[in-house]
């Protein structure tokens, strides 16, 4: 093909090195996960007899999965987790990016202090406030609702999101905001129509960061919404994480199932990691 001729030889050798590095690290990152997955398909005995081996006739077992699927109301748990996660992400991204924009764009008295105030939340372990949060939720009559989880997660996700997004907002070329202002565009609209689209990679990154701890959280579902029909997937799965008797293959199976939805969410967000979003904007 025509194209081939135009691939640089030096690029080729560089590509080899680059891919070698990437593959090596990918292997490091994936091998343990690969172990999780193959072991999820093994009987408990199989796991410990030959942890590295692929499931074979002797060790293959879907016990883990059947247990998970039989014992818990998986669809419902998925739905709950999904709802909580997605709603939280949407709210966090919206509110955090708005706040970050205000902090990075406007000079007003106390700007730095407000930024600091909004960052305090990442400096204290949130579990510390569990009891107060629980009391608050009880008083609001939100106990055993997904709303309670969403509210707490939003509060929990905001500080980090604001912190990160504020930093990224600084990258946007000043001229663009100014052009919009000269275009007679209001501040809200500048934010939504110009700024947000341009920091999409950062927003997507923040979305991923917000999502991971929420999806994997066990604590707040336990105290705020342990009730029937409101369990999240992680809470549902915790039944398999025993103290003395442990169905490791069930744990592995359920946890590998549970990673799929966030992986999908990740893939959705990562499509926003676009190169050169601002290219062509300014000279």
């Amino acid at each position: 093909m025509m194209m081939n001729k135009n691939i640089r030889r030096e690029d080729m050798s560089r590509a080899v090195i680059v891919h070698a590095i990437l593959l090596t690290y990918t292997l490091v990152a994936l091998y343990p996960i690969f172990l999780v997955i193959i072991n999820a398909f093994k009987s408990r005995k199989g796991i410990f007899k030959d942890p590295m081996g692929l499931p074979n006739a002797e060790t293959f077992s879907l016990d883990g999965f059947t247990k998970v699927l039989a014992k818990s109301n998986f669809e419902l748990f998925f739905f709950n987790s999904f709802t909580v996660t997605v709603v939280t992400i949407v709210i966090v991204l919206l509110l955090a990016s708005m706040a970050a924009w205000a902090l990075s764009e406007y000079k007003f008295p106390g700007n730095t202090w407000l930024a600091l105030y909004l960052a305090v939340g990442i400096m204290v372990p949130i579990r510390l406030g569990s009891v107060s949060i629980l009391n608050l939720i009880v008083e609001l009559g939100l106990i055993n609702t997904l709303t309670a989880l969403v509210l707490v997660y939003v509060a929990q996700g905001l500080p980090l999101a604001i912190f990160i997004l504020t930093e990224f907002m600084h990258q946007i070329p000043k001229d663009l905001k100014e052009a919009a202002r000269c275009d007679g565009v209001g501040e809200f609209k500048i934010f939504f129509a110009v700024i947000l689209p341009l920091i999409r990679p950062a927003v997507a990154t923040v979305a991923v960061f917000t999502m991971i701890p929420i999806w994997n959280d066990l604590w707040f579902p336990l105290i705020l919404a342990p009730g029937d029909g409101k369990q999240t997937i992680t809470l549902g799965i915790q039944q398999f994480i025993g103290q003395y008797v442990t169905d490791w293959n069930a744990v592995l199976a359920s946890l590998s199932l549970a990673i799929i939805p966030i992986l999908i969410l990740y893939l959705i967000f990562s499509r926003q990691l676009i190169r050169g979003l601002t290219s062509g904007a300014v000279k």
Partner: protein, 393 residues
């Protein structure tokens, strides 16, 4: 109303849902009961938070001693002395859930766990050893197995620390400190951890490192369980709760023996530890129904259901319970042969900082790891206790 049972026993959810609750409902179909377990590691924190927030369930599974006592003191657990059938439990059984002066009982005892050693019969045969009766035989057997080489003599690790204390120190110790006698002496201050029985316990513990698998420092509890259940180890320092796992996992025959006393001693001592009970949320809106449930639990039906469903958890009631599992039966039979005691760090002695139980975990593990000598271990433990416990100062 609907009763919610809070528990850390998430392994038991099937037993509750499939056996216990249906049995209860046969008698009381109008009372709906939900068993709501949480991961054991989070249980204490969670239950405290739920009480503070007023969202705790009606029936609360009780840890022994101080954790539950504290809940009672805070007014979260209702006194249960008036429950009919409470006299089906011995005072010893109730002692773990009573105020220090014994004036009030706030949880209904459910089960105890017994320590001992589980062994792989095939391994013993292969090495040509008998079930040891004395400490000397025990170590001779372990040496022989080690020599023979096809089995790891003893399956345990110190990575999780608590096994060293619970399956090690508390398992073999009562034979040195003479069970309840020594335990009480520690509480009243007449014995110290620097005394011989304790140093000896530590010394014996330290010798275990010869028999443990390579890299035992990093071997966790499930690793050890699996080493044994996969037939790679001969002896397993056990809690009776391990039985059900081994029943389902091991494809060889296994048996059990109590911690062997020194040759020539006439009594043997075992740790028969009160482990689990059920209490009533003082603010439960369904207190009446909850009491019905608790009363039902004092009956023999529950005792037998529970002990058989969970071999290794032995009902604390005075009902005669037929246990079908042979190994469990072996364990429970020691109650007749030997003197029972509970773990010496549980009552009163873990009330301060540093916490004796935690200290024992740490130090027992270190003793096995060889990072402290038995004497140092005794000194450190005693020093910790002396810090806050007047009788030892």
């Amino acid at each position: 109303g609907e009763l919610v049972i809070e528990s850390w026993r998430n392994d038991d959810i099937d037993i509750w849902n499939d056996q216990i609750i249906p049995a209860f409902n046969k008698e009381y179909p109008e009372i709906k009961v939900t068993f709501s377990p949480t991961p054991p590691t989070d249980y204490n924190a969670l239950i405290n938070a739920k009480f503070a927030g007023g969202t705790a369930g009606d029936l609360i599974t009780c840890r022994p001693f101080d954790a539950s006592l504290e809940l009672y003191k805070q007014g979260n657990l209702a006194p249960l002395d008036d429950i009919k059938g409470m006299d089906n439990f011995s005072d010893v059984a109730k002692s773990a859930w009573q105020t220090d002066d014994g004036s009030a009982t706030f949880c209904l005892p459910m089960a105890s766990v017994i320590h001992g050693f589980i062994y792989n019969k095939e391994a013993f045969e292969a090495a040509g050893v008998e079930v040891p009766k004395t400490r000397e035989e025990f170590y001779a057997a372990l040496d022989k197995i080690k020599e023979e080489g096809s089995y790891i003599p003893m399956a345990m690790g110190t990575a999780d620390q608590w096994e060293a204390a619970t399956m090690g120190f508390q398992n073999i110790g009562p034979n040195y400190w003479k069970g309840e006698e020594g335990r009480k002496a520690l509480i009243d201050g007449s014995q110290k951890f620097t005394d011989k029985p304790y140093i000896d316990t530590f010394t014996e513990l330290a010798s275990w490192s010869n028999y443990l698998p390579d890299g035992y420092e990093a071997i966790s509890y499930p690793d050890a369980q699996n080493l044994f259940s996969l037939g790679r180890a001969a002896v397993y320092p056990a809690g009776s709760w391990d039985i059900s796992l081994f029943n389902s996992q091991a494809d060889f025959e296994f048996g059990a023996f109590p911690p062997p006393p020194a040759a020539g001693s006439d009594t043997c001592y075992i740790s028969d530890h009160t482990d689990i009970a059920l209490g009533l949320n003082a603010k439960s809106p369904n207190a009446a129904e909850a009491k019905i449930f608790l009363e039902w639990m004092t009956g023999s039906e529950f005792a037998s259901l529970y002990s058989n469903a969970l071999p290794g958890f032995f009902s604390l009631s005075n009902h005669k319970v037929e246990i079908s599992d042979p190994v469990a039966n072996e364990f429970v039979s020691w109650r007749q042969k030997c003197e029972s005691t509970i773990r010496n760090s549980y009552q009163i002695l873990s009330r301060g900082t540093p916490n004796l139980e935690n200290e024992l975990w740490n130090i027992s593990a270190q003793v096995i790891n060889g990072t402290v000598t038995p004497e140092e271990a005794g000194k450190a433990t005693e020093a910790g206790l002396a810090k806050w416990y007047a009788p030892h100062q």
